[in-house]
C-alpha cells in the first residue's frame, strides 16, 4: 500500500472556484479509485488560490481481481445434445482466449441461455492504471468559467503551471493541459517560492506549511478569525466578520497575516453603509465596531504573507482607504447640497429599459399604481400617503453621485438621504427595501410599506416587460423577470395579500396606455407558473400544486393556502375517502352538463340525503375556504363521503329516464363544485393501492 498525492498547481484561481473544485476532486478521485478496484484509506482535499490537492492514504498496490462474463453463441448452438462443445463453442473460446471446457452457460432475462466465457482479470499495478485515470480527473473538473492559455486548447479556471503526482515515493507519469507531473511543488510566492521536491505524499501538508502555504482552508479560516478578533480587541473593538468576505479572503490567500489599520475619525460621519461598502466590497477589509455596534476608525486587512514589513503594508492600505473615503465623502457632500426629491427630474434622462421608457416615466407610473394598489388593498389614508411619497422618491438615488460610484448601494442611499431630509421612517425604509429580494437567499422587504412599494415596482416592471414581448423563454431571462415574479410572490405570501392579480396587471398595463386582456392573462399565468415552481421548491408535490392552482384563478395567496392544506392532508389516512368520493362524482360528469337540481325528481332516499348534505356543507366549506382555512374546509367536506359512495351503490346514475338522469348528474355536479372550494382533486395522482388501503 502507498499513499497517493495529486497537486494541481495553478495561477490564482477565482476564490469562488476553490471550494467547489475541492469537492469535485474528492468525489472524482474516490469514484476513480472505486472504478479501478483500488482499495484505499482516508481521502483529504486541500485548496488555496494556487493549488488544488488531494491526498489518499493507503491506496492498494494492485487492482482487486475481477471476473467478467462475455456472452457467446446461444447455448443450443454451442453444445450438442450430450452437452459437448460444438465448433461454434470452440471458435468462441479461442476468440476470447479461454479453454473451451471453461465455458459456462448463462441465462438472461426471458430465459434465453447462452455460452459465456469467464474472463479473469488479475488486476494491474496501481501505478499502471492511475496516470491516465488521474489525467481524466483533472480534465473533468468543471468551473463557472474556464479559459485557454498560450497555444493550448486545454481549459481550466486559470492556467495550470505544475502538477505533482506521487504514488508512494514514485512519480506517476501523467500529463494534463500540456504539463507533465513531477514531484516538484512551489511554495508561497514570495515567502518561499521553491521549487521544492516532495519525497512522500504524507508529508504534503507539513512540507507546504514549511513553504509558508497553509493548504487547509479551514485552518486559514481559523487563523484569520483569531487574528482579526485579537487585533480588534486591542482597540476594544469587535471585528465585523462578514461571512462572504471571510470566505473570499480564505480562498484568496495561502498564508494569511492580518493587520489593523486606522482611518481618520472624521470619515465616520459618512453613512455606515458607505463606509462598510468601501471597506468590504472595494478594499476587502473587515470593519471594526465598538461594543454598541458603532463603527470605529479602524479596519483589518489580511495580507497574503508574513509579519515582515507589516508597517509598510499597513501604511499602504491606510493610504488607499483614505483616498477612497475622501472620494466617497466628496460625492456624499455634493449629493447633500440637494434634497432627494431634487434628483427626481434628472430621472427623465436615465433610460430604464429601451421599451419601457425612462426611470422618470417609471416613477410617474409607480406613483399612479401605488394609488390603485392602496385602494385595492383598502389601505388607510396615512399609509396611502406614505406609499405615494415613497413611490415618488424611490428611484431618485439612481442619479446621485454616490450611487454612481457605488451602484450596489441603490435604495440604501435613497433611504439615507430621505431620512436626512426628514422623511418618515416608514417612507425611508420602504425606499431602502423596495428592491428586495435582490436574489436567491435574500428575503422580501421587512416592513409593510416596503413590501407594498416592492409589489408596485415589480408589478410595473413585469407587466411592462410582458406587454413589450420580453417574456423569458427557456434559460434566457435577460431582464431578470423570473426574479421579479418571485419577488411578487414572496411579498404576496408574506403579507397574506388577497388580491386579484389580473386586476393589478390591468392597472399596471393602464400606466403603459394598454388594456389588452391577453397581456393581463399572460402576466397572471407567468405568476402562477412562478408560484407553482416556488411551491414545488418548498416540497409540495407538483400534482398537489396543480390541484390547488386549478381552482384558484388569479388569487396567488389562495393557491398557496390550498396547496399547503392539501399537501398536509394527502399523506394522511382519511384523505383517500375524500379523493375517492370526488373521483367517482367527477368522473361520470361530462364537460358540457348543465341544469339545476329538482328535488321532485328524486326517486331513491339516498338522492334526497345527498342533496341535504350538499346543502348543509356548502356554506361552511365556502366560508372556511373564503377565510383561507382550507384544512377546516376539507373537514367540512367529510359528511359527503358516505352519501356519495352510497348513491353509486343504490341507484343507476345514468338512469334510462332522461330527466332523472340529468337531475342526478346535476346533484353530482353540485358535489364536485363544493369540493372545488378546496382543490381540483382529480389532478392529484393516487395509486390504486393508496386508494384501496386508505379507502
Amino acid at each position: 500500500m502507498a499513499d497517493l498525492l495529486l497537486e494541481i498547481g495553478t495561477e490564482e484561481l477565482p476564490p469562488g472556484d476553490v471550494g467547489p473544485a475541492m469537492e469535485q476532486l474528492a468525489g472524482a478521485v474516490g469514484r476513480t479509485l472505486d472504478t479501478l478496484r483500488l482499495l484505499r484509506g482516508r481521502t483529504t482535499t486541500y485548496g488555496t488560490p494556487r493549488r488544488l490537492a488531494v491526498l489518499v492514504r493507503e491506496v492498494a498496490d494492485r487492482q482487486g481481481p475481477a471476473e467478467r462474463r462475455v456472452r457467446g453463441p446461444a447455448a443450443a448452438a454451442a453444445f450438442d445434445q450430450e452437452g459437448r462443445p460444438t465448433q461454434a463453442a470452440v471458435g468462441f473460446a479461442r476468440s476470447q482466449g479461454v479453454r473451451v471446457d471453461s465455458l459456462e452457460v448463462i441465462e438472461e432475462s426471458g430465459g434465453r441461455r447462452y455460452a459465456a466465457a469467464v474472463l479473469k482479470d488479475p488486476g494491474k499495478a496501481a501505478r499502471t492504471v492511475l496516470p491516465e485515470a488521474l489525467a481524466a480527473v483533472i480534465a473533468g473538473l468543471t468551473f463557472a468559467k474556464t479559459m485557454r492559455w498560450g497555444g493550448g486548447e486545454a481549459r481550466f479556471a486559470r492556467p495550470i503551471r505544475w502538477l505533482v503526482a506521487l504514488l508512494g515515493a514514485s512519480v506517476l507519469p501523467l500529463e494534463a493541459a500540456g504539463v507533465r507531473a513531477s514531484r516538484i511543488t512551489r511554495g508561497h510566492r514570495p515567502l518561499a517560492p521553491g521549487p521544492r521536491a516532495i519525497a512522500r505524499p504524507a508529508q504534503y501538508p507539513a512540507l507546504l506549511r514549511a513553504l509558508k502555504v497553509i493548504v487547509d482552508p479551514a485552518a486559514r479560516r481559523r487563523s484569520i478569525e483569531e487574528q482579526a478578533t485579537r487585533l480588534a480587541a486591542d482597540v476594544e473593538g469587535k471585528v465585523v466578520l462578514d461571512p462572504h468576505l471571510l470566505e473570499e479572503i480564505v480562498m484568496s490567500v495561502e498564508h494569511p497575516y492580518a493587520l489593523r489599520g486606522s482611518f481618520d475619525g472624521a470619515f465616520l460621519l459618512l453613512p455606515r453603509e458607505v463606509l462598510v461598502t468601501v471597506m468590504q466590497h472595494h478594499q476587502k477589509y473587515f470593519a471594526v465596531e465598538d461594543a454598541r455596534g458603532r463603527l470605529l476608525g479602524a479596519f483589518i486587512a489580511v495580507r497574503d504573507g508574513g509579519p515582515a514589513h507589516a508597517a509598510t503594508v499597513r501604511q499602504g492600505h491606510e493610504w488607499v482607504l483614505a483616498a477612497r473615503l475622501a472620494d466617497a465623502r466628496f460625492f456624499f457632500e455634493e449629493d447633500r447640497k440637494h434634497h432627494l426629491e431634487d434628483f427626481v427630474p434628472a430621472l427623465d434622462g436615465l433610460v430604464f429599459q429601451a421599451q419601457l421608457g425612462t426611470v422618470g416615466d417609471k416613477t410617474r407610473r409607480l406613483a399612479a399604481l401605488a394609488g390603485t394598489v392602496a385602494s385595492m388593498l383598502g389601505l388607510d389614508g396615512r399609509t396611502t400617503e406614505s406609499l405615494a411619497r415613497a413611490a415618488a422618491l424611490c428611484k431618485a438615488d439612481l442619479v446621485t453621485r454616490l450611487v454612481g460610484e457605488f451602484p450596489e448601494l441603490q435604495g440604501t442611499i435613497g433611504q439615507i438621504y430621505a431620512s436626512l431630509d426628514g422623511a418618515g421612517t416608514d417612507v425611508a425604509r420602504a425606499i431602502g427595501e423596495h428592491y428586495r429580494p435582490t436574489g436567491a437567499g435574500d428575503s422580501p422587504p421587512r416592513t409593510e410599506l416596503g413590501a407594498y412599494l416592492g409589489l408596485v415596482d415589480k408589478t410595473d416592471t413585469l407587466a411592462g416587460a410582458i406587454g413589450a414581448g420580453l417574456t423569458p423563454t427557456g434559460s434566457q431571462d435577460p431582464y431578470g423577470l423570473r426574479r421579479t415574479g418571485q419577488g411578487i410572490i414572496e411579498i404576496v405570501l408574506m403579507l397574506r395579500l388577497r388580491l386579484s392579480m389580473k386586476t393589478l396587471a390591468y392597472a399596471a398595463l393602464a400606466q403603459f396606455g394598454r388594456s389588452d386582456e391577453q397581456v393581463a392573462d399572460d402576466v397572471v399565468e407567468f405568476l402562477r407558473q412562478r408560484l407553482r415552481g416556488t411551491l414545488i421548491e418548498r416540497g409540495v408535490r407538483y400534482d398537489v400544486a396543480d390541484a390547488a392552482l386549478a381552482v384558484s384563478g388569479d388569487d396567488l395567496l389562495a393557491a398557496a393556502g390550498r396547496a399547503e392544506a392539501v399537501a398536509d392532508a394527502v399523506g394522511r389516512a382519511g384523505f383517500a375517502p375524500l379523493y375517492v368520493a370526488y373521483d367517482r362524482a367527477s368522473r361520470i360528469l361530462t364537460a358540457d352538463g348543465m341544469g339545476s337540481i329538482d328535488p321532485a325528481l328524486f326517486e331513491a332516499p339516498i338522492e334526497r340525503r345527498l342533496f341535504e348534505v350538499v346543502r348543509s356543507v356548502e356554506h361552511p366549506v365556502a366560508e372556511a375556504a373564503g377565510a383561507g382555512e382550507y384544512a377546516a374546509a376539507m373537514e367540512h367536506l367529510r359528511p359527503l363521503v358516505g352519501p356519495v359512495n352510497q348513491i353509486f351503490d343504490d341507484v343507476l346514475i345514468m338512469a334510462p329516464d332522461e330527466r332523472v338522469r340529468a337531475n342526478r348528474l346535476a346533484l353530482l355536479r353540485a358535489v364536485v363544485a363544493v369540493f372545488r372550494h378546496v382543490a381540483d382533486f382529480a389532478k392529484i395522482v393516487m395509486s390504486e393501492e393508496e386508494k384501496q388501503v386508505n379507502g
Binding site: 486559470r158 492556467p159 505544475w162 504539463v179 514570495p190 478594499q283 514589513h309
Partner: protein
Amino acid sequence: MTFQDVILVLQRFWAAQGCVIEQPYDIEVGAGTMHPATFLRALGPEPWRVAYVQPSRRPADGRYGENPNRLFKHYQFQVILKPSPDDVQETYLASLRELGIDLLEHDIRFLEDDWEAPTIGASGLGWQVFLDGQEITQFTYFQQVAGLEARPVSAEITYGVERITMFIQRKADVFDIAWAPGVSYGEVRREDEAQQSRYGFDTADVTMLRTWFEGAEAEAKRLLEAHLVLPAYDYVLKCSHLFNLLEARGTVGVAERTTLMARSRALARRCAESYISDREAKGFPLRNAFAPAAAPRRGHRGARRG
C-alpha cells in the same frame, strides 16, 4: 522614482524580454487595447510581443482637473505577449521589482477579474493586480477579440502608470506626483484636463459630433470595401472616440447607446476578419518571429525544456 522613470524602466524591462517597443497610437483611443498593435496583432496565429505607452482618453471620466483620482486622459503602459508564456506572472512580478517594489515588503494580490470591452467584442479572464490595496495593473488572457476566438491566447498586461507612480511616491493627488525632477504631473497636464473637460461636458457641438460619427462610419465601410483595413480601422477608432464624446455630453440614451455600440462592434469585427485574411494571404509573415531564443528562459517549465 518619477512618472517618466516608471515609463522608462518598464520600456527597458520589456525590451529586454524581447518586446517590440511601439509608440502611442496617434488617434484618440480609450485604452491601450485599441491600439492596432494590440487589437489587430492579437488576431490570428502569428506570435507577437510588444510594449508601449498609450495615452487613453475617456471623456466621461474628466473632472476639470479638480479631482485627485479622476482623469479625462490617463496613461497606460501596455504589454502584449502572444502566445502567453508559461512564466508570464513571474516576469510581470520581476518588472515590479525593477520599479523598486520588493514583493517581500508588500502585499501583492491577483484578484479575479473578468475583462470585457463590448465596443470591440473583446473579452478575457484574468485579474486586477493589487499592491497593498491599490489596483495597479489589469492582467488578462484574451479569449475573444472582435468576437473571434483568440488562438493562440495573448496575455495583456496593462499598468496604470499614474496609479503606480502615486503608490511609489505616496501621493494622494495625481496632480502632485513628480512627472520629471522638479515638474509635477499637474504642471504638465492640469490645463489639458480642465480644457478637455470643458469641451467634453459643456462645449462639444453635438450635431457636429453626430455628423462626424456618421461620416467616420461611412468612411470605415468604404475603406473596408476598398480592402484598406488599416485606414478603415483608424476610422473605427474615430467612431469610438466620437461616441465617447457624445456620451460624455449626456446625449446618448440607453437604447441609442446599444445601437451605436453594436455598429462599432460590427465594424471592428469586419476589420478583424479583413486583417486576418490579409495576413493569411501574405502567409502570416511573422509566424516564425519572436522565436523562443529571443525570450529569456525563466521558470520551471522553460528551464526544464531548455
